[in-house]
């Protein structure tokens, strides 16, 4: 079997995607788990001109930094293409390239001050304030 890796976006126009990487998992409250689309995870801030970032998820604050990846990562999408002879052929399309990630590798720090958005319990859980409808 031969799978062609295609790049429909063309040279130099490959859109750049981003990765926000953090330790562990982000869990929504159980009651929201089946409708988390558009739900807010947290707030990403860049407090100063340095490449240092914070991510506030509920009561927790993560501190991290932006890193250029040593090797770029391609985002591939598996496509099924109709062949001339009606049979289906699989192709991989390069739909994006990732060159940077914002990595949060520290343990979350608890925020003691009262935040405007009360979040649910759990380690890192998404606040419910921006749930659709």
């Amino acid at each position: 079997m031969l799978i062609q890796v295609k790049c429909s976006c063309g040279e130099r126009h490959c859109p750049e995607w981003a990765i926000v990487e953090l330790q562990g998992t982000v869990e929504a409250q159980p009651s929201l788990q089946d409708r988390i689309q558009n739900l807010q995870i947290g707030l990403l801030c860049r407090p100063s001109s340095e490449e240092s970032y914070t991510l506030v998820v509920g009561y927790h604050e993560l501190t991290g930094s932006k890193q250029r990846l040593k090797k770029p990562i391609l985002v591939l999408k598996k496509m099924e293409v109709e062949d001339d002879s009606d049979s289906k052929r699989v192709e991989l399309d390069v739909i994006g390239v990732i060159r940077h990630k914002i990595l949060f590798k520290t343990r979350p720090k608890a925020l003691i001050s009262s935040r405007p958005q009360p979040a649910a319990k759990g380690k890192i859980s998404a606040p419910a304030s921006s749930v659709p409808n």
């Binding site: 859109p15 926000v20 995870i41």
Partner: protein, 396 residues
Amino acid sequence: MDNLIQQTACSAGAEAVLSLQPSSSISLTYHSLFGSHNDLMLLELDDRLLPDILRQRITLRGQPDEDAVLCTSSKTYAVKFVGTSNSMLLIPPSEDVSRSCNNKDDGSMAVASVLKVAPGCMELVEVAPKLDELKLLLSQNPYSFGEASEMDTSDVGEKTGSDLYRWEDLVERIQASDEELKMGLQSISAVEIDGYWRILDDGYMHAILSMLLHNVILNNWSVDALDEDEVLGMLEADGFPRNIAKHCLQAYCSEVDDEGVCVSRQCKLDERRVCVCLAREILKGGKMKLEIFMQKWMRKLPDGMCASFEMLEGEILTEKLGIETWLYPFSVSSLPLTPAERFAILFQQRLKWEWKDLQPYVRDLKVPGLTSEALLLKYTRRSQPTAEAEPVFSAR
């Protein structure tokens, strides 16, 4: 509800995350299409492979039961999935740049949406092409006399057996880049016959050589300056198809550089290749006493050619039985190219190898990132009874 509309209207995507200005913030949300998106995969690769990707020169190859490899035009890479326990939140660029929100005055906050949490990333490791399969496929049905005469009579078009392979079939079956596949075909001396890549049956190859040598004597040609057209014409008259005859001629000859104006191509019979072929033919029955072999070999050589025993490195092994020396065929070209399998067969053949015997059987092994010393260390145990003695290699 208002909140939602604002959010989608201000969806800013990856570029907003990557170009986040000092003392500003962006809201990270799940995408409206957030899900497992199993059709999206991440592939880490070296910067220097990017141009190949963009020019669409990259393919993944392999049968459903094999681990996929990624091929550029000249190299083969194993694809390894590396999982991570971290959460990699994947943020696509905003779909419509004009719609993205850079207006800070309206009080709404820019939003970056996470489409998928990636479970890991695929990485590439350069590997040797898997060419053993090529040899295996093509040796299922070598081109032989039977077929050659069949072609003469009729039904040329009928020969489309399932064990014949076109280039397109090979590319689908063999885990190697195009360039490596071409080199692999060359190294097993394959030839394209009626659109199919074939190897020639040993007997057939030998018969052409015999006919050629016979005609060299008959026509008083010089083995150092054969006229290609004349030779091919003669072989054709003797019933060998021209393209196959040409292939064989190339297999036995090295080309002579044209000096000045030359109407047709000249070629020179390669001493080593001819001598090896003759030796193989003599030994095809198996073991033979050294003296008898040498007698037969010398008798078969064409005038002006000199055979030496070193030519048979990697073709035969010798064995001392009492005072007699016997030799038997053991051709490196019949051995697998995968180091583990190669060494297994070598140590099955002999428990202990001296370096001078072993070297011809391992020098063609190539594994990216591993030197030949490292290969020996990995697959053999080296012992040297005394400092002066020749080192001996045995299985690990």
